[in-house]
């Protein structure tokens, strides 16, 4: 199976300006807050997890042409259609045409503060020892392009250093595809800018990513 994310933008030559905006501007159209709330409320039904949402969004063929709430809506429609929950003819008609699919939960207004305050922590207990330690040299593996991953392309194959060890967390790559939580040790790995972007990069520039253990290989100490 081939999997292509349109969302892996780090280091890409994206055109267009970065346009700052005042912090009291939350939405840019009347439908945006409804789209946000629909996405959160449907997420709360437990029909998919956040990693599956991210996978649905990043694989939209027109990802680059859509603004963010349009991406969310298109992914929401895709996730529901895949599960037979809402079909395109129903959205076109504006009312239900097929029987509902049972859902685990329906978020009620009174539950909103509690559900948001609880969130979905991803830390999990593990008996496995951590394979890497702080200060150790590692290299990011290249991903094979067959599944969702949180390993950005710009660090794949690059050498970095373990900066912190965060315990075991739900492994997004499996979780996104319904393969369970399969928790793995999670590390912050820091890279020199020059390792990523070449010798002209500022000496003090560094970038870190948070990487699960299976993204990493041990690197001989002292090698560059």
């Amino acid at each position: 199976m081939s999997y292509h994310s349109h969302a892996d933008l780090g280091g890409q030559g994206a055109c267009g300006a970065i346009v700052p905006e005042p912090e009291d501007v939350l939405f840019h159209a009347a439908w945006e807050p409804r789209a946000l709330a629909l996405t959160l409320a449907m997420g709360a039904t437990g029909s998919w997890n956040l990693d599956a949402s991210r996978a649905a969004r990043e694989t939209l063929p027109d990802y680059a042409q859509l603004d963010y709430y349009r991406i969310w809506l298109a992914a929401l429609e895709k996730l529901m259609a895949e599960r037979g929950m809402v079909l395109p003819d129903e959205i076109a008609a504006g009312h239900a045409l097929h029987p509902p699919v049972p859902v685990a939960r329906v978020l009620q207004a009174a539950q909103v503060p509690g559900v948001l305050a609880k969130g979905s922590p991803t830390a999990r207990p593990t008996d496995a020892p951590a394979r890497f330690r702080v200060g150790q040299a590692v290299r990011m593996r290249r991903q094979d392009g067959t599944h969702h991953t949180r390993a950005p392309g710009y660090v794949q194959g690059r050498r970095g250093t373990i900066e912190s060890v965060h315990g075991a967390h739900i492994f997004a790559d499996n979780h996104a595809h319904g393969l369970g939580e399969s928790p793995q040790w999670l590390y912050t790995v820091v890279f020199e800018g020059r390792e990523l972007w070449g010798p002209a990069t500022d000496a003090g520039q560094r970038v870190s990513v948070d990487a699960w253990e299976s993204y990493l290989d041990a690197e001989p100490e002292g090698a560059a």
């Binding site: 969302a7 933008l9 780090g10 280091g11 055109c15 300006a17 346009v19 700052p20 905006e21 005042p22 912090e23 840019h28 159209a29 439908w31 409804r34 789209a35 709330a37 959160l40 409320a41 991210r54 969004r57 990043e58 680059a64 603004d67 963010y68 809506l73 809402v86 129903e90 959205i91 504006g94 009312h95 978020l107 009620q108 207004a109 539950q111 909103v112 503060p113 948001l116 305050a117 609880k118 969130g119 979905s120 922590p121 991803t122 830390a123 949180r150 950005p152 710009y154 965060h166 967390h169 739900i170 999670l186 912050t188 003090g204 520039q205 970038v207 870190s208 990513v209 948070d210 990487a211």
Partner: protein, 218 residues
């Protein structure tokens, strides 16, 4: 934020242009909401509660209070450095998209900048919903490669010998930048200090306002 007025005009202009299309999106979202309600998947009152939460209760003023306390209280600052999730929870902020928090501290020699190159991960309990630019392709593409160029887009210029660290939020850790406390704020209350802290300063695309700037309209 002094770049307010030109931006404002641009936004008004965009809104006028988008009106015909906005109608189409309005209809589509309304249709979707009707179908989901009919099918019993959602409670429309819960949608109102969600929107109200992010419009009135969860936003960057939360984070500004955290920063102000870190500036005013060395014990809290240490706690924030050691266990940001717990320290921030002690102020009543936590949960969705802030389950695992880390605070990163700017200094005279080190500046921090936060991005999510893969999507739009952002610390919601302390900063609310991300601004459009944070989710946009140009920011996500450039932040990791050319952070000084990104800072320039925000009118920020750092000394050449200030090291810049970019945090790409690739897992469920969420990062809050603690900007440097401005000079001339000795003895200020936490509420006064919080007014110096913009959302952008907590992402790393701005510095904290100086007492002189804080007098200007923002």
């Amino acid at each position: 934020m002094t770049a307010h007025s030109p931006d404002h005009d641009d936004h008004e202009h965009e809104h006028e242009h988008e009106h015909s299309e906005l109608g189409e999106m309005d209809l589509r979202v309304r249709a979707l909401e009707s179908v989901l309600t009919e099918k019993g998947y959602i409670d429309p009152a819960a949608l109102d509660a969600l929107i109200d939460t992010y419009q009135t209760r969860i936003g960057p003023r939360n984070g500004a209070q955290v920063v102000a306390r870190a500036w005013a209280d060395a014990g809290f600052r240490d706690w924030l450095a050691r266990d940001a999730t717990a320290a921030i929870a002690s102020m009543g902020f936590g949960g969705r998209q802030g389950e695992h928090m880390q605070a990163v501290f700017n200094s005279a020699t080190q500046h921090h900048l936060v991005v999510c190159t893969l999507c739009s991960c952002y610390p919601w309990p302390v900063l609310g919903l991300p601004p459009v630019w944070y989710k946009s392709a140009p920011y996500r593409a450039r932040a990791v490669r050319d952070p000084r160029g990104v800072l320039a887009a925000f009118g920020v210029s750092l000394p050449a010998d200030t090291a810049i660290r970019v945090w790409d939020s690739t897992a469920e850790l969420r990062y809050l930048v603690i900007p440097q406390r401005p000079d001339g704020t000795e003895g200020w209350s936490e509420a006064q200090l919080a007014d110096l802290v913009s959302r952008d300063a907590m992402i790393g695309t701005a510095l904290a306002r100086s007492p002189a700037d804080a007098g200007a309209p923002s």
